[in-house]
């Protein structure tokens, strides 16, 4: 069996600006992969390219062996690849439950249903009839994750889910992600906090300036190596 997701020599552009250069990576079934890197390293661009929000060449991205580069986002989610977008992007005029039901529009059946989501996130169940804007940041993030799960994905892409949240909330979110992983969902997590990323991920990619600077298992990577890859060699030496 091949990789669940493989990215091969991906180049992505925002208009005339090239954000990703010749990037290659892979995700195995059930695996949790973390992407770390500073702002502008290309983490979000990579996730958007995979999810179909940014156009790419057809063969650059394969999902379950099928070339999906160039597919529109609305088609990719139906194949089992869901994105939790940066900044949550809940629908403000919809209630919590209506937001979750939007996730089911992909039309994929599976273990993730409204009752199951409410079981994993009991604190949003209590507020299902509230507008999504009435919730706290952490609860909104749970709705965003729940909404993506409602499409019963094989691979869940999470873009900066801990952004702007208190550490105690972040810890809770990652506990839930672990529970979700145990259902067999593979994940790609974009995370600013290297310690958090190393704790949850099976494998880690460090991106810098639109390229993969370092790849490996958390146990095999030293913090020093990651810091070097994160900021670039010169910057790391300047710290000494």
């Amino acid at each position: 069996m091949g990789s669940l997701l493989s990215v091969n020599s991906l180049n992505s552009h925002y208009g005339a600006f090239q954000a990703l250069f010749d990037m290659s990576l892979h995700v195995e079934p059930g695996e949790c992969v973390a992407l770390v890197g500073s702002n502008g390293a290309g983490k979000s661009t990579l996730l958007k390219s995979i999810a179909g929000l940014i156009a790419t060449s057809p063969d650059a991205i394969r999902f379950s062996g099928q070339p999906i580069g160039g597919f529109p986002a609305e088609k990719i989610v139906k194949l089992g690849l869901a994105l939790v977008p940066e900044g949550r992007k809940l629908f403000p005029s919809l209630t919590v439950e209506e937001n979750l039901l939007m996730g089911a529009k992909a039309g994929r059946r599976g273990a993730w249903t409204l009752p199951r989501i409410y079981e994993v996130f009991p604190n949003i169940a209590e507020r299902k009839n509230n507008l999504s804007t009435a919730l706290s940041g952490g609860q909104q993030q749970m709705v965003a994750i729940g909404r993506a799960l409602m499409s019963n994905p094989q691979l869940l892409l999470c873009d900066e889910i801990s952004l702007g949240l208190a550490p105690v909330v972040v810890r809770e979110l990652y506990q839930r992600l672990t529970a979700i992983r145990s259902e067999g969902v593979a994940m790609v997590i974009v995370e600013q906090d290297i310690t958090q990323a190393m704790r949850v991920a099976d494998r880690l990619y460090c991106l810098r300036s639109g390229r993969v600077a370092l790849e490996g298992r958390p146990a095999e990577l030293s913090r020093h190596a990651i810091t070097e890859a994160y900021f670039g060699l010169e910057a790391a030496h300047a710290h000494h």
Binding site: A51, G52, L53, P72, A73, E74, K75, V77, K78, A82, L83, P85, K89, F91, P92, S93, L94, E98, N99, L101, M102, G103, K105, A106, G107, L131, T133, R147, A148, S151
Partner: protein, 288 residues
Amino acid sequence: MPIIDAVFQALMLGGLYCLFAAGLALVFGSMRIVNLAHGDFIVLAGFIALTVTWTVPVHPLLSLVVVVPIMATLGYALQRFILNRVVGADPMAALLITFGISIILQNVLLQIFSGDTRKLQAGVLETASVAFGDSAIGLYPIVVFVVAVTVIAALQYLFYNTEIGRVLRATSDDSQTVRLMGVNQNHIYAVASAIAFVVIGIAGVLMAIRTNFDPTQGPARLLTAFEVVIIGGLGSFWGALVGGIMLGLAQTIGARIDPGIQMLAGHVVFLAVLLLRPNGLFPMVTHS
């Protein structure tokens, strides 16, 4: 009792105005597109109904069976193939396109139907009346008002209690993020436009039974629709009904004072609302 007469007159006018406006509000509310050809499409619906009754001698209300599907298809196609290209861009693009369509429609209608004024003949429905205390109320005004309330209730239900309504609201919130849910926003926008055109079709037929019309009357209908939307606001479809009734009431009372100031009275109420409550009586809730 002249007061009761005036009130019923106002309700009927208001019902018709509300139908003029509901489609405009729907399209602007969900896509931020102002359709300057809106009034011309109302007139077009009247002419389609006229053609139907010329071809088959049926009651004009029955022509809705043909008019509504044609208008819905037209609305879907207009959005899908033309207006979707400019959604979210500079609003000027959509204004120019629909302004052009307005001119084209008026001239095509003039070519085909000439400038003669027309009217749909609804026979006994136009003259029948219902006794109400000392006065008699026309049956047709009651029909128009009931249709308007039904249409608004149906739109409100569709938008807030059905799956397609949920998707329409989500798409109007964030047309990029709905794509991540597997929704093709181009199709959803076209569906919203088709729904608006169903209302336009109903409005056109009811208008054509009530008054004389000719190919040049679209812009006046558009103006009425604008005023109703501004008075009612974009927060609820019921705003269109309230806005329509307020405009109808102002015009009726104005006409009682002096027939010459009927339209002026309506414009004055519109301006007053614009000054005092610029977002209308049912403002759209902003989520920022």
